[in-house]
Symmetry: C2
């Protein structure tokens, strides 16, 4: 038995500043969750001016890989303010922060993240604030998934806030927002997108619908990622990569991720590797060793391998850690739910070999 | 700008009789909408016995291509009975009948179909009863679309009831229900499924998401339709064709159909041709003449043409009408919204040539 459900209303190829007002409630406080960079580029001010600025609160201190303690402070800060809708503009961390706030603020728990993620209480997110997700990088797919990653750096753990009420209400894709991304912020999310497609294809939870989304996402990303790397001014390429990211997000919203992400989590925790790099530097080795049919033709697999060879991933990963460092994390790498989603049931030897072939 | 939204909760590869109770409300009257055939095969009784029979009403006189007058009678019959959920089990006509009832019963209009479809009042379907769609043929995709076809045979018109509230609540796919279909009821819906994929690909409303669904639907249907035609006992093939039908339904739920369906409507009205045959006998000619890129490789197009050649469609269509008969319907064939969805803007000459090459 398999199921498929994704209630996010998606509007693509829009101009954020023109359309955003249509998706806001007539009254009540709004919370904009975004990054320092968005503010620095003057875009937060533009957005606030465009909307009724009296009712717009701004939280623009989101940093990569949001931490449980920081998130609990934000929950306490914004809980009393009677927020009606959250607008999230940024990469995966901004979107995930907004999604966490949307269910944690109305929750009846006093410290919702500590009580559910650490103390093991049920994630009964009965209520949620509507979230409007506006991705400014292309790759995370967080605009359409029913989960958000919460890092607990103190105790060295990665958690997931999840459930149907974590789905954003709207995803607004504006390709102009990705025009100013630097090379790393084009490459790493783009690789994350390819990782999502592949992870959903070699996933024991795959369905006809997730396969459909993953296959076309791959087709779009294989063409548009190299194009945007070469020429960030190429609007069509940026648009296609945004669509690829969305489709891969739809795919993992059903399957969740698998072995490549499972391997990445301890590396991100201990070595602060950018998520997209950590989740993709092993893809080539996995793709070469995979035994299950993943519905991708040999020619297409060859194209993926070529793309993954193009950006010196082993060299990039070595800036953060060595194979020996990675090997020490082995026990934490594949004993997770995500690791067990991998159709080729993972063993220590298999994961060690994947790592060895990825440096 | 494009949008994507489909809130149907899909459960596939289930056993209807086991899982149905989970999706029913605890209290209130239920209405089963199904076909005489389902009752004849003893399945209506089985289902009613499985559920609390005291609260289950049965409407089992659905016939192909539901007519406006018949539907208005059903609305009047069931309106006073305080129905809480509708269960639709059957082919496209049963599912469409249930979807029409779900919005028409709670509507404030006295004669909802006459007032909206004939008198031109707004289709403001503010409320709807939850519908559980259980397709027993593989091809219509009606289990996931936000529209239902209503035929007005008296005035010779085809209407569409549509809107977000027309979306079913649940789609339950049970492959065992397609085991007893005769040859025509395997072939024609299967061809309808292929028509839906192609129609959404050469459609001006196509999106990254609709393309993803259509392409994988085609891949599944090209393999599974011939398999189920050869061996109706092949459970895997039936399952895959059911998935293909679902994906094509997801695709047209965004794009609607196009030229092949537009051509089919007057033929169905005047010659009572089975919908799947009427909507597919022109596909080969359209596919051969299409100028727009539809994301399908040449090899795959060749496979589709071969499949469409396999089942003597010209011979089958000649049992209902001649080219001369069809030609007389030309003016009604392409001046509809669906016709104008076709990316190669249709002209009378183009449609005449398509027809000529389809006999």
């Amino acid at each position: 038995m398999w199921s498929h459900f994704n209630p996010v209303k998606i509007f693509a190829d829009v101009s954020l500043f023109e359309v955003l007002p249509e998706y806001l409630p007539a009254n009540g406080a709004l919370l904009l969750v975004t990054t320092p960079g968005f503010t620095r580029r003057g875009l937060t001010k533009l957005l606030v001016d465009k909307i009724d600025s009296d009712r717009m609160l701004v939280c623009d201190n989101v940093t990569p890989n949001p931490d449980l303690t920081d998130l609990e402070s934000l929950i306490n800060e914004y809980r009393p303010l009677n927020i009606k809708t959250i607008i999230a503009v940024g990469g995966g961390s901004a979107l995930d922060t907004a999604k966490v706030l949307s269910v944690a603020i109305p929750s009846s728990y006093k410290n919702p993240l500590t009580e559910t993620l650490k103390d093991g209480k049920s994630q009964l997110w009965n209520e949620s604030l509507p979230v409007i997700c506006v991705p400014t990088t292309s790759g995370t797919g967080a605009e359409v998934t029913p989960f958000a990653t919460v890092w607990d750096k103190k105790s060295g753990r990665k958690h997931s806030v999840y459930g149907e009420s974590v789905f954003p209400r709207y995803a607004l894709l504006d390709p102009s927002l990705t025009a100013t991304l630097d090379e790393d912020n084009r490459l790493y999310p783009g690789l994350d997108c390819i990782s999502h497609s592949l992870e959903s294809l070699w996933n024991k939870n795959r369905t006809a619908a997730s396969i459909a989304n993953a296959l076309f996402s791959l087709e779009l990303a294989l063409k548009s990622l190299p194009e945007t790397m070469k020429n960030p001014g190429d609007l069509d390429a940026r648009r296609n990569l945004q669509h690829a990211s969305l489709l891969a997000g739809l795919a993992i919203s059903q399957t969740k991720t698998a072995i490549a992400h499972s391997i990445s989590y301890p590396l991100t925790l201990y070595y602060n590797i950018p998520h997209g790099l950590a989740a993709s530097f092993t893809l080539k080795a996995i793709l070469r060793s995979i035994k299950t049919d993943i519905f991708v033709s040999e020619g297409r697999i060859e194209e993926i391998l070529q793309l993954l060879s193009k950006y010196d991933l082993p060299k990039r990963i070595l800036q953060y850690l060595s194979f020996d460092d990675a090997e020490k994390c082995l026990p934490e790498m594949f004993l997770t739910e995500r690791g067990n989603n991998f159709l080729d049931i993972p063993t220590t030897e298999m994961v060690r070999a994947i790592l060895l072939n990825s440096f």
